[in-house]
């Protein structure tokens, strides 16, 4: 192990470690973050939701977006899997359909970063309590 000799060393070390701790800190205050839910029921996984989720996690990390990516159960849109629900703080949730790796990146670039809606949004047909 390398020695920590100064405050800068410690800061550097902390930054390296932050990523893995981040997920635990963020999970305490999800309401201030962009929440991305990937539907990962059997149908979703069969259509490739796991690759999509990994792509989203990578992309979020790269762009340094304060977001938390979680998996969720079946949203009921089995015909349109993989589906991804994005909730930005202060906005209603939006569900994107037929998401692949390319589209996942598009969601981040266009909707999350620039508020631009893209094709394939599913109409909200239910209310959660």
């Amino acid at each position: 192990m390398t020695k920590i000799k100064s405050l800068d060393d410690l800061r550097q070390k902390k930054q390296q470690l932050e990523q893995s701790m981040d997920i635990r800190e963020k999970s305490d205050h999800p309401e201030n973050l962009v929440q991305i839910k990937v539907a990962m029921a059997t149908c979703g996984i069969a259509s490739g939701a796991r690759t999509v989720m990994n792509a989203l996690v990578e992309k979020i990390k790269k762009e340094n977006i304060p977001a938390v990516v979680t998996q969720t159960g079946c949203m009921g849109y089995c015909y349109a899997e993989p589906t991804v629900e994005v909730t930005k703080p202060g906005f209603d949730p939006v569900v994107f359909s037929y998401v692949d790796v390319k589209k996942a990146e598009e969601i981040v670039d266009k909707y999350i970063l620039n508020n631009e809606l893209i094709d394939g949004i599913l109409p909200a047909n239910y209310q959660t309590i």
Binding site: M1, T2, K3, I4, K5, S6, L7, L10, K13, K14, L17, E18, S20, M21, I23, R24, E25, K26, S27, D28, P30, A39, M40, A41, T42, G44, I45, R50, N54, V68, V69, T70, Q71, T72, G73
Partner: protein, 592 residues
């Protein structure tokens, strides 16, 4: 995703280490090792429902997990995203499953400062502590602040000692810093001795690095280069994790010479205690560390002037130290904004006794007992009636329903006849006999009294004898006055804090449950049916079948009756042994 598994002593005792193994096996079998990691953490506090497994980021809180459930958690939750509902916490009010720990009553009212990392980080990995701002406070203190400035911040925060007496921590540091000497010591008091209290153990097991960091900060402030942790040998897991943390901190150069490139050097080691209650008293603790008998001595000189090896020594409790780094990270103003006027910050309590959610909680000062017992604790077990709550361990007292709405802080508890103590909180219901409770604590004191001063050694023994007399139905009204007089004498004349506070359980129960004492003495009755000698056994003639089993087992032949006819107990012969009650197969014997 991460799976946090509780690695505290309670959950480990229920096989949490095997759960970790099984989870890892299942993850491997499903080829999910890339996506999900298993992390062993410190205590989550919800020991009643342990072992705990928490899945993040969705905060799913699984309770009472068994090793064989591991596969299902991985196959259902991690692979398919379906929560395993049978393992979720069930709200006792409406039997609904609550998945998210933030919505559980147990956590809603809590505020975790000392326990901030318990149940969050892996205590055996210093990197996780650093990733959560660990050692930043120490870095800030040794590079940017003078000892005087740092002490001023601790003073400003209003932090008071969490070991029991509530002495202002900043002031203690300042006093120790003023004495000059070639060598000074920082001592961490981890000799947690109150029955039912385990907050210090949980902090050491869940976040050992926070104690190391705080002790180093204290060392910088008072001018000490050496830290000692006095820890009881009965805490093997805490010792192990502390040793790991110290070794890792040394490797990083966070302990040792020229910390963060400054002129400040600090190192520490452990000292094991044999588990004597009196060694929680600082002068006895120091004597024990020096290899002498663990006996307190007269103060002054205070340890700040002449402590370990006659050098200036600052002794603080584990929980006190756990609060220190946060004061520097978030600022003393932030810290002092929490709590009441004279008691700042939060307090950790170990909830035990007849309460639904047994476990470890941390709440802001000023919260009421009612909130703790009914909202966090989930109320009294089996829907029974609340009777009393004992705070402060053997040095504290019993509080009643009348005190339920008192805001809890150092001063209000003392005013109510109890004390904060180290934070044990034992809840009692209608089935508990308060005379027996007082007797229990006194037995503990008599056992643990070091014997150095007469009032504590003999006075408590005499008090115990009187209580024994009362519970055997041989007491009279003069005994009650005698008990009270003795208690005040012991309080006034004992040498150390242990003796001075030892009569508190008796005094507070005499004050709050005087009727119960009178019932024992005058009517020879124990309403809680706890005092065997006062029980009256009678046979219900309508239920008795005349099987003769009671008569045949009675050791003093107090039961008579013809075969197949109702039997009868002769009260003047009965010795209240309870054998007939145990033997009767028809529940025909009543106890009053």
């Amino acid at each position: 995703m991460q799976l946090l598994v509780c690695g505290g002593t309670g959950c480990r005792a229920s096989a949490s280490a095997t759960i970790v193994e099984k989870l890892n096996e299942s993850l491997k079998a499903h080829q999910l090792t890339e996506e999900a990691q298993v992390v062993t953490t410190g205590c989550f506090g919800f020991c009643e429902k342990g072992p705990i497994v928490k899945v993040i980021p969705d905060n799913t809180f699984y309770t009472q997990v068994k090793p064989e459930d591991a596969e299902e958690i991985v196959a259902e939750h991690i692979l398919k995203g379906r929560k395993v509902s049978r393992l979720l916490y069930e709200n006792p009010e409406n039997q609904e499953h609550i998945a998210d720990s933030r919505h559980m009553g147990f956590y809603q009212k809590q505020m975790r400062i000392a326990l901030r990392n318990c149940g969050v980080i892996d205590p055996e990995n210093i990197d996780e502590y650093i990733g959560r701002d660990g050692y930043s406070a120490l870095a800030q203190v040794v590079t940017d602040l003078t000892p005087e400035q740092a002490i001023a911040m601790v003073k400003q925060s209003g932090l008071r000692g969490r070991g029991g007496a509530g002495f202002p921590t900043g002031l203690k540091w300042e006093i120790t810093s003023k004495f000059s000497s070639d060598q000074k010591y920082v001592v961490c008091n981890a000799d947690e001795g109150d029955p039912g209290a385990f907050m210090d153990r949980s902090i050491l097991e869940g976040d050992p690095n926070s104690i190391i960091e705080a002790m180093a900060i204290c060392g910088y402030c008072i001018g000490a280069t050496k830290g000692l942790v006095y820890i009881r040998a009965e805490y093997p897991l805490a010792i192990k994790r502390l040793e790991i943390a110290i070794a890792q901190a040394r490797e990083y150069g966070l302990l040792g010479d020229n910390i963060f490139g400054s002129k400040f050097s600090f190192d520490m080691e452990l000292r094991y205690g044999a588990g004597a209650f009196v060694c929680g008293e600082e002068t006895a603790l120091i004597a024990s560390m020096e290899g002498k008998r663990g006996e307190p001595r007269v103060k002054p000189p205070f340890p700040a002037e002449s402590g370990y090896m006659q050098k200036p020594t600052n002794v603080n409790n584990v929980e006190t130290f756990a609060n220190v780094p946060v004061i520097f990270l978030k600022g003393p103003e932030w810290y002092s904004s929490i709590g009441t006027e004279k008691s700042k910050g939060t307090k950790v309590f170990a909830l035990a006794g007849k309460i639904n959610n047994v476990g470890l909680i941390e709440v802001p000062m000023g919260i009421t007992l009612r909130e703790i017992i009914y909202e966090i604790g989930g109320g009294i077990k089996n829907g029974k009636k609340f009777k009393a709550v004992q705070t402060g361990g053997p040095s504290g007292g019993c509080l009643t329903e009348a005190h339920l709405d008192t805001p809890i802080d150092f001063d209000s508890l003392v005013a109510a006849g109890s004390m904060m103590g180290s934070g044990g909180m034992i809840v009692m219901d209608e089935d508990d006999c308060m005379v027996s409770i007082a007797k229990f604590y006194l037995e503990f004191i008599v056992e643990e009294s070091c014997g150095k001063c007469t009032p504590c050694r003999i006075g408590n023994k005499r008090m115990l004898e009187i209580l024994e007399k009362i519970t055997q139905g041989k007491g009279n009204m003069e005994d009650l006055d005698h008990l009270r007089n003795l208690a005040y004498v012991i309080k006034d004349t004992s040498l150390c804090g242990l003796g001075q506070s030892s009569p508190n359980p008796v005094l507070s129960t005499l004050e709050n449950f005087y009727d119960e004492y009178v019932a024992h003495v005058k009517d020879k009755r124990c309403f809680a049916k706890k005092c065997k000698a006062l029980a009256r056994y009678t046979i219900d003639p309508d239920v008795c079948t005349g099987c003769t089993i009671c008569a045949r087992n009675c050791p003093v032949e107090a039961i008579t009756g013809e075969k197949r006819e109702p039997h009868f107990i002769h009260q003047e012969i009965c010795i209240h042994c309870g054998v007939c009650y145990q033997k009767c197969k028809f529940n025909a014997i009543n106890v009053e």
